[in-house]
């Protein structure tokens, strides 16, 4: 892996990013735009699942467009992230904060895809199953939203920490 990172650092793209201040800074700005789109989508989806934004409407109505926003944001921040990673591949790969950021990113995305969306979808017709099912469903929704908010907030904080303490 070390030889791959060394090769990555020696590529033309990595050298251009490393040596061109405005390119590096501009990529970092676009990376942040993508990240704002992702965290905004995650925030809206989780606050809604928590029952804060649009109570009384099926959560999936918000989760679906928010997921598209999260995906678009990840596409933007992922594409720019690769270019930002290339010139500092070796140092970043052994950086604890960067490793934490990546671990939180993977966990947050997997949690959103496999837990959040399922919970949001499952609550659609729950009112037909009786009051106890509704109460259980609300508890599940709130717990899912809190875990989601913690994961995305942790990701944002680790991203900030990496920028500042790198």
């Amino acid at each position: 892996m070390a030889s791959f990172f060394a090769w990555l650092e020696s590529t033309r793209v990595a050298l251009a990013v490393r040596d061109t201040l405005l390119l590096n800074a501009g990529l970092s700005g676009v990376h942040l735009i993508g990240f704002a789109l992702t965290t905004g989508g995650a925030l809206v989806a989780n606050l809604n699942l928590l029952g804060v934004l649009f109570p009384g409407r099926p959560p999936i109505e918000v989760t679906r467009p928010a997921s598209r926003g999260i995906a678009l944001g990840l596409l933007i921040s992922g594409a720019t992230g690769v270019f930002l990673f290339a010139p500092r591949a070796t140092a970043a790969s052994v950086n604890g904060i960067f490793q934490l950021k990546m671990a939180l990113l993977v966990t947050a995305v997997l949690f959103h895809v496999f837990v959040h969306r399922r919970v949001a979808r499952a609550t659609r017709h729950v009112h037909l199953s009786g009051p106890s099912a509704v109460a259980w469903s609300q508890t599940t929704q709130r717990a899912t939203a809190i875990v989601g908010l913690l994961l995305w907030t942790g990701l944002a904080l680790s991203g900030c920490a990496f920028i500042l303490l790198e």
Partner: protein, 164 residues
């Protein structure tokens, strides 16, 4: 009259000194500033997309604004306070930085855009509140908002690379 004595005075204030000289003052303030941007712009973009008729079209525009506004306002308040603190600490360098000027100009455009939307376009919201395709004025406001806030973010990042 030169503005530089004022900028130097700002840097010498307790807030300016604290951010500049303490080990954690700068990184913590910047981190909170970025979190404020995430919260404000991250939620604002959903209202802008609704104005554009691109997303969340099943929800009334006024309801979207009402529900998202507290989060946007909180984010903007955090962003402005921490932004002012950072400018206080590096007032002279910021003042002469091109990207700082671009960032502030974009924020002024964003404020004018918001004022025009609330003062004029929103007045007749009852006519298009539930419409999936809001009128031209609303769509322009949404698009302009996305563009200027993207400019604020990019200029802000470039500023941090070119200022120190």
């Amino acid at each position: 009259m030169s503005i530089h004595p004022f900028l130097e005075w700002l840097e010498a204030t307790p807030v300016g000194v604290m951010i500049k000289e303490s080990a954690w003052g700068f990184p913590i303030t910047v981190a909170v500033h970025i979190m404020g941007i995430m919260l404000s712009v991250g939620t604002l973009v959903w209202f802008d997309l609704r104005l554009l008729g691109v997303s969340m079209t099943g929800y009334r525009a006024s309801l979207m604004y009402k529900r998202l506004a507290p989060w946007m306002v909180t984010g903007f308040a955090v962003m402005f306070v921490t932004g002012l603190m950072l400018v206080t600490a590096y007032a002279t360098a910021a003042y002469s930085n091109l990207y700082f000027r671009i960032k502030v100009s974009a924020m002024v455009v964003a404020a004018i855009n918001a004022f025009v939307y609330h003062r004029y376009t929103e007045r007749r919201i009852a006519l298009w509140d539930e419409s999936a395709a809001p009128p031209k004025g609303a769509r322009v406001a949404g698009l302009l908002s996305i563009c200027v806030w993207a400019t604020v973010i990019v200029a802000g990042r470039i500023m941090s690379y070119t200022m120190f």
